[in-house]
Symmetry: C2
Subunit: 86 residues, 2 copies
């Protein structure tokens, strides 16, 4: 898929299943303290939007995957998902 | 829409346009230092997954919207988007 429009990439970085999420736990406790019941679990991750100069979606995906592995995600404990929108 | 399955809510919290994003800027600089060119902008937000006891999607959305206003997002500088999946 090729286009003239620069590609926008959306990356979700989330903790792998089984990895403790103290930040999510804190949010869950805070929600409980505010009176919000019925919250069985909270997991917090990162959401990163990248404006790329690249106009080719496939090439952009390869670049962003590389960025995730090298900087954006800690692949020992985190998963990442890439969404390309142009 | 009613179901028997507990609802999962996905919340994106992002900085409003015009609000400086030093975290995103740091990521952008780090990507540049690693040799990733062609990155024109990076914005970093939060991604929160909530496991709710609620089984009704519409009721869940109302609850989660309330949570966003009261705790999850700082509505002065942040936008939030709610996605309900069951």
């Amino acid at each position: 898929m090729k286009g003239e429009v620069p590609v926008k990439a959306k990356v979700h970085v989330t903790l792998k299943t089984g990895v403790l999420d103290p930040q999510g736990k804190a949010v869950q406790n805070a929600l409980g303290a505010l009176g919000f019941g019925g919250v069985n679990g909270v997991r917090q991750g990162k959401y990163i939007e990248l404006d790329l100069a690249e106009t080719d979606a496939d090439a952009a995906r390869v670049h962003v995957e590389d960025m995730c592995k090298k900087l954006l995600a800690n692949t020992v404990i985190e998963n990442y998902a890439i969404e390309i929108a142009d």
